[in-house]
């Protein structure tokens, strides 16, 4: 197959990519640049007094033990969310992959939650698990569990992880199902003829063949947990109790918009940007090569 296209004019290719470039420049590079500039400034909320302070915002940030606590917490949340939602989605996908009556219906129903916006997810879980409003919390209390995520940081963290992971299951399920269906049936049959039991077949045949999908989803889920859990946290706990659900993105928001400290907020988002660049770099550079295809 010939991959190289031949353009008569030298300008035409540029003209063709121009709309995309314009979008990237306006919606990514421009705000990113603004954030970098802002991170060197000390400014009041209204933008009336501005002074250039070099790296002071960064120095203050790295001196702040609360910031490091948020870094550790964010990584913990990300892995907990990614691993729980990936494993549950994989289980569901393997089950739904079997020839079942009405499997289309199951699959459609399993994909639905992905269409729900994060704040709505937060509200739904609040209704189920809020200490005084929640339906489930009533049963938990009746069962003797001292359920109070308003004061118990671990319970609140668990709540966020549960809601965020639940939301992501559908997306993962979709990819796993597609991945499973892409595995040729003959491989399973050969393994079955060799006498491998279902569990063994899963771990030695399905799992390795799914590894590209798993790896792709792992990165997507971690990035999701990093950024898109904001809506859930904001509606469910607002970072509390204590600081037990303040993630890096929530801190950017609360310091910048609630606290009016735009310089620090910008510095934090620059750090966050660097983290994501590094994450993506690792993905392409090292790990992707080691995945068995």
């Amino acid at each position: 197959m010939q991959k190289q296209a031949i353009f008569q004019s030298k300008l035409l290719p540029y003209a063709l990519v121009a709309p995309q470039l314009a979008i990237v420049l306006i919606f990514f590079y421009w705000p990113a640049l603004q954030a970098v500039i802002q991170s060197f400034l000390l400014q009041d909320a209204f933008g009336l007094s501005t002074s250039f302070v070099w790296f002071e915002n960064y120095v203050e940030l790295f001196k702040d033990p609360a910031y490091f606590a948020a870094v550790v917490r964010t990584f913990f949340f990300s892995f907990a969310i990614a691993i729980s939602s990936l494993s549950f989605a994989l289980l569901l996908a393997v089950m739904a992959d079997k020839p079942l009556r009405g499997s289309m219906l199951y699959r459609t129903l399993l994909i639905w939650p992905y269409a729900v916006a994060p704040p709505v997810v937060g509200v739904l879980w609040i209704f189920m698990l809020h200490p005084s409003l929640g339906v489930i919390s009533r049963y938990l209390r009746a069962a003797g569990v001292d359920w109070n995520p308003l004061l118990d940081g671990n319970q609140a963290a668990g709540l966020i992880i549960l809601a965020a992971a639940w939301k992501q299951i559908s997306y993962n399920f979709l990819f796993f199902l597609a991945g499973l269906q892409a595995i040729p049936k003959s491989v399973f049959e050969a393994a079955a003829i060799d006498g491998a039991r279902p569990m063994r077949r899963f771990w030695t045949v399905t799992f390795p063949l799914l590894s590209p999908t798993i790896f792709f989803l792992l990165v997507v889920n971690i990035v999701y947990a990093f950024f898109d859990t904001f809506g859930i946290i904001d509606t469910m706990t607002r970072g509390g109790p204590g600081t037990s659900t303040v993630t890096l993105v929530y801190k950017v928001y609360s310091d910048g918009l609630l606290g009016g400290n735009l310089g620090s907020s910008a510095a934090q988002s620059v750090v966050l940007m660097i983290m994501v660049i590094v994450l993506t770099g690792i993905q392409f550079r090292f790990v992707e090569r080691k995945v068995t295809y």
Binding site: L48, S132, G242
Partner: protein, 438 residues
């Protein structure tokens, strides 16, 4: 930059286009607010009444989300060069707004420049004090004010054979009795943990929350609420949290359903909770003044307000300001204040309106509507009870809540938590002082 110019050009084009209509003579005044439900209806009625009363100006109210959202929308609009004329800002945003010299037009200046009749003495000092300079110059116009009161479920108290408590020790005893009578998840509770248990508690007992008259006299204020009274109070709450005689109900007012559902028979929160109580409570209720510690000298002092005020934004044409000034005069009218008071449950801001509501017999059937006014005017305000003005207040409250939550969860002692809240808060105040316009 190019985009911003394009936006401005488009806006100009649009205005010119609209200006061609016969309504050319009418000056529009944009009013951004954060009121929903019945209170939104009050705002809409006020605007349309004003618009009907004259032909030169047209006030256009726009709902911009909750308090922080409205304030952030206003700040963003100001940065983009198209702020509204009037913006409703909650009380904790006061320091941020007044620090923004140039972005706002102080009300006393507006009234003087436009030659509008304005007597600062006509207003209730307990309310306007919060929004005035230390010299008594009114910076923003108080719109909806409330104070903390203690809501009581009369039926449940009667059932448990409990008198309405007046002091904190009595509240604790009442909570224990109520718990024994079947309220085993909540004897008493409250909303706005820091507003009720730090800010109001300090004012009510005439102890400082922060130096420099709680920040009213300058941005170089230092937090001081880790004193013996506040520590003792938090210790009491921590102790009672263990048995759920007291049960924490969250940082904001999301726990208020616990009162109307009957779960918590004693509940401290804003007097503006009245609308919901009236609509939802299926029991006899009342609201009484906040409890106090009888061994504290001079307690109770007076309470401070909550709620929001109207800020006039800077940089508008003189003619627009004339309309804004006329609108503020319109709002100050005695009958109108009485109407707002009756329709929303928020407090009247002028002395005349308070007197008229009283004379009308408004408080005879509903004495609990006067409770916040009695608290606010209980004594002549002192340095500790005039109000508070701390920068970054929204986030300060979050930080204080974080520490109080740690104490209630048993991770820190009350003293450690308040010490940490003071220390972290002071760091934020210094940050604010650095960025504030001098």
């Amino acid at each position: 930059m190019a985009l911003r110019h394009f936006g401005a050009a488009a806006a100009v084009a649009l205005t010119v286009g609209l200006g061609a209509s016969p309504a050319l003579a009418v000056t529009e005044i944009q009013w951004w607010h954060a009121m929903t439900g019945a209170n939104n209806d009050v705002i809409v009625k006020l605007a349309s009444d004003f618009n009907a009363s004259q032909t030169d100006y047209k006030v256009i109210p726009t709902y911009k989300g909750n308090y922080p959202d409205t304030m952030n929308a206003g700040i963003a609009a100001f940065r983009a060069g198209n702020a509204p004329h009037i913006m409703q800002v909650f009380e904790v945003g006061t320091a941020t707004m007044m620090a923004a010299t140039g972005a706002v037009k102080p009300v006393y200046k507006l009234m003087a420049e436009t030659g509008e009749k304005f007597d600062p003495k006509a207003y209730l000092p307990a309310i306007t004090g919060y929004y005035s300079t230390s010299k008594g110059e009114m910076l923003s116009f108080p719109f909806n004010s409330s104070s903390t009161v203690m809501w009581i479920n009369l039926d449940e108290l009667k059932k448990a054979n409990v008198e309405i408590p007046k002091t904190w020790p009595e509240v604790f005893e009442a909570g224990k009795k109520l718990k024994a009578a079947g309220h085993d998840t909540c004897g008493f509770s409250g909303s706005w943990i820091t507003w009720v248990n730090l800010e109001q508690l300090s004012a009510w007992h005439n102890v400082p929350l922060a130096s420099k008259a709680n920040g009213l006299d300058g941005f170089d204020t230092v937090l001081e609420f880790n004193g013996p009274l506040q520590v003792k109070h938090l210790e009491n709450l921590v102790e009672l949290q263990k048995t759920k005689v007291y049960d924490y109900a969250g940082r904001t007012n999301t726990g208020e359903g616990r009162f109307t559902s009957g779960e918590c028979p004693i509940y401290l929160t804003s007097s503006a909770f009245f609308g919901n109580v009236k609509a939802q409570a299926k029991f006899n209720f009342t609201a009484v003044p906040m409890p106090y510690y009888p061994d504290a000298k001079g307690a109770p002092q007076n309470s401070i307000i909550g709620g929001a005020s109207l800020w006039v934004m800077g940089g508008k044409p003189a003619d627009d300001y004339k309309g804004v000034a006329k609108f503020l005069t319109f709002l100050s009218d005695t009958d109108r204040q009485v109407y707002i008071h009756k329709a929303s449950g928020y407090l009247p801001i002028t002395k005349a309106a308070y007197a008229k509501a009283k004379a009308d017999g408004f408080y005879k059937d509903q004495p609990y509507l006067e409770t916040p006014l009695l608290e606010l005017t209980n004594k002549e305000p002192t340095e500790n009870s005039r109000g508070l003005r701390l920068g970054n207040m929204v986030q300060l409250r979050d930080v204080w809540s974080e520490e109080i939550e740690q104490a209630l969860a048993g991770k820190k002692t009350a003293k450690q938590a308040l010490d940490a809240a003071v220390e972290r808060g002071n760091t934020m105040l210094r940050q604010f002082e650095k960025t504030a316009v001098k």
